[in-house]
């Protein structure tokens, strides 16, 4: 394509729901009344919520226009590090909306729910094969809830053997949910610094490891996009003092079919189905955060669990050491279906997906180093981290670069994370992006770096092309206006 990716277009304004509508309009086909009115006690009756009344076309235009203000993976590339914004296959959507799935009640007898129970059972087996860890729970509704489950299981494991270990080792590159999840379990996070190569060293872990440490939470590959090459030895050190190894599997997209977590000493890990396994992000959810564990932790998995007996599938709560229930029912089944569908579509080609994700990230890294500062100039996994150091002279920051990328038609990469890199720009292209798209992105980055030198105003004013300009976030926080 000779023309730039981004252009202008007719975007329509659309008011808030209650700024339109007229009392008496309806967008709903009220079902036939085939029973009498049973009057209710006046004391109990309320006035009903003061929702606006809208016609069907009002509703359709409202949400169609709103959707047009959004950027999605279907619109263009989202090089968001640690988010794995890969393509969301449409066929997965079809499966989740099948009548037999969408209309199923979770509390029907097992013999009337074999279809979904079978899917859940097999999904557990597939995730087990991919991670190398034998036992799985699909219940956590998101990665963070998976981490919570993981922390609870670690706590239960130690309590079961009579110990009161109450600390968790957390690297400085960790995602914020890691210390937050451990704190909810009453653990005290103990920080561990990464070394100059961007990974955890044996020495730094050994220096803080003691009998009070219940475990270590490692993201592998880590948030700098680097494989924690000392992980096997680190697991050894942690295990030697009776601790457990938890892996945050957010970056699993780099190593499917390439690393077996069980072999490298991992006891427990969570996966993000809305990252690695292509289920859509939905503008903020729903996701799913299954947890895979080694045999020693299996008794503590949340209940209910899917079991197979005599060729049929059941949900069983008969696990006395379980940490209990985290979700009202069995987790985000609608999301699980999509991941299951994805795995059946890819099979062992999941390995190829990982290889291409890593290829894309290294390609970006090689072509952009020199344009942006690369703090760790070494082979990366599926993501790479730059910084705004080279743009400092004109006071151009990571934020400005990100906002200007929007004008070029790209969603910005992850910014200001991980915290160990000042002004971090974390890029994860995923395997979905073609070389042509990557080249377009690289050209845009180079053009922006040029602008930063010659005409930084363009960056400070960016973005200029979307519906709104930079938002006054201070006003939003000082005077919160959270409902209309």
């Amino acid at each position: 394509m000779k023309e730039p990716l981004s252009t202008t277009g007719l975007i329509l304004n659309e008011p808030l729901l209650w700024e339109k509508g007229k009392k008496g309009r309806s967008g709903f086909s009220l079902p036939q009344r085939d029973v009498d009115v049973f009057p209710m006690d006046d004391n109990l009756l309320g006035n009903g919520p003061d929702f606006p009344d809208l016609s069907e076309l009002d509703v359709v235009r409202h949400y169609t226009r709103l959707s047009q203000w959004n950027y999605g993976v279907d619109s263009g590339m989202y090089p968001l590090g640690s988010c794995t914004m890969k393509y969301n296959p449409k066929i997965n959507e079809r499966q989740a909306s099948l009548h037999g799935i969408a209309f199923s009640h979770p509390m029907l007898p097992a013999e009337l729910s074999q279809g979904i129970l079978k899917i859940m059972f097999h999904l557990e087996r597939y995730l087990s094969e991919i991670t190398g860890l034998p036992a799985v729970t699909l219940q956590p509704a998101a990665g963070a809830q998976g981490e919570l489950a993981g922390m609870m299981m670690i706590k239960a494991f130690h309590q079961n053997s009579g110990s009161t270990k109450n600390k968790i080792l957390i690297p400085d590159t960790a995602h914020g949910t890691n210390p937050a999840s451990s704190a909810i379990c009453g653990f005290t996070p103990v920080p561990v610094k990464s070394n100059e190569l961007g990974v955890l060293s044996l020495e730094s872990v050994a220096s803080v490891m003691d009998e009070d440490i219940a475990g270590v939470m490692i993201t592998n590959p880590n948030t700098l996009g680097l494989f924690e090459e000392n992980i096997k030895e680190i697991s050894g050190i942690v295990h030697s003092k009776g601790g457990l190894v938890y892996v945050d599997g957010a970056n699993m997209n780099a190593i499917m079919g390439i690393v077996n977590m069980d072999d490298i000493g991992v006891d427990i890990m969570h996966l993000n189905l809305h990252k690695t396994f292509s289920t859509p992000h939905g503008g903020g959810g729903p996701g799913a955060g299954p947890v895979c564990v080694g045999k020693d932790l299996e008794p503590f998995l949340p209940v209910p669990r899917v079991v197979k007996k005599n060729g049929s599938y059941f949900l069983s709560q008969d696990f006395p050491q379980s940490i209990g229930r985290l979700h009202a029912f069995y987790g985000n089944v609608g999301v699980l279906i999509k991941a299951y569908s994805y795995i059946l579509s890819m099979g062992s080609m999941l390995k190829k997906a990982s290889q291409l994700a890593v290829l894309n990230a290294n390609y970006l890294k090689e072509r952009l180093k020199g344009t942006f500062h690369l703090p760790y100039d070494r082979p990366c996994m599926h993501e790479c981290v730059f910084s705004d150091k080279l743009q400092e002279e004109n006071r151009v920051t990571t934020l400005d670069i990100a906002k200007r990328l929007i004008d070029y038609g790209f969603h910005p990469p992850t910014v200001y994370f991980p915290l160990v890199v000042h002004g971090a720009i974390m890029m994860e292209p995923t395997e979905s992006e073609s070389r042509e798209t990557l080249d377009l992105f690289i050209e845009a980055c180079k053009a922006i770096a040029d602008e930063a030198k010659q005409n930084p105003e363009l960056l400070f004013e960016a973005p200029t092309k979307p519906k709104v300009r930079r938002m006054d976030e201070t006003k939003a926080a000082r005077h919160p206006y959270l409902a209309g």
């Binding site: 200001y416 976030e473 201070t474 926080a477 000082r478």
Partner: protein
């Protein structure tokens, strides 16, 4: 963000190494965060104060300062009882940004030991620390 030469560093206050200032005012010490701190934090959204009457040691965490993108802990520059907090900041947190040493003051302390003021830095020493 400001260059070091652009920062306001009054002579009449002492500075702590976590970028707070303290000024002796009769029997009390008034404290807040320095111009460097407010510049680094960005637009201040909210200040969480300790309860009036609570007593803390020097260096103990006594509150938080929130900006849009981050939160920073407030530490006691000197130990003592908290006798007043700047309630005006609830409606006007921007005072911390605009007048960090005056209208943006945060807590008033009745110190247990005025001698602790000596262990804080004067303007020159603080400037030296910033230049690093």
């Amino acid at each position: 963000m400001k260059e070091i030469s652009e920062l306001t560093l009054p002579e009449d206050v002492r500075y702590s190494d976590d970028h707070e200032w303290a000024r002796q005012e009769g029997d009390f010490v008034r404290a807040g965060i320095s111009d460097y701190a407010q510049d680094q934090l960005g637009d201040i959204i909210f200040v969480e104060f300790p309860e009036i009457g609570e007593t803390f040691e020097k260096g103990e965490e006594c509150g938080t300062v929130e900006s849009v993108k981050t939160v920073s802990e407030l530490y006691m520059p000197v130990g003592g009882e908290v006798t007043a907090v700047n309630e005006n900041l609830a409606e006007h947190p921007e005072m911390v940004n605009n007048e960090p040493y005056n209208g943006g003051w945060m807590i008033e302390i009745r110190p247990t030991d005025f001698g602790e003021m000596d262990s804080l830095m004067g303007k020159n020493a603080y400037l030296k620390m910033l230049k690093g």
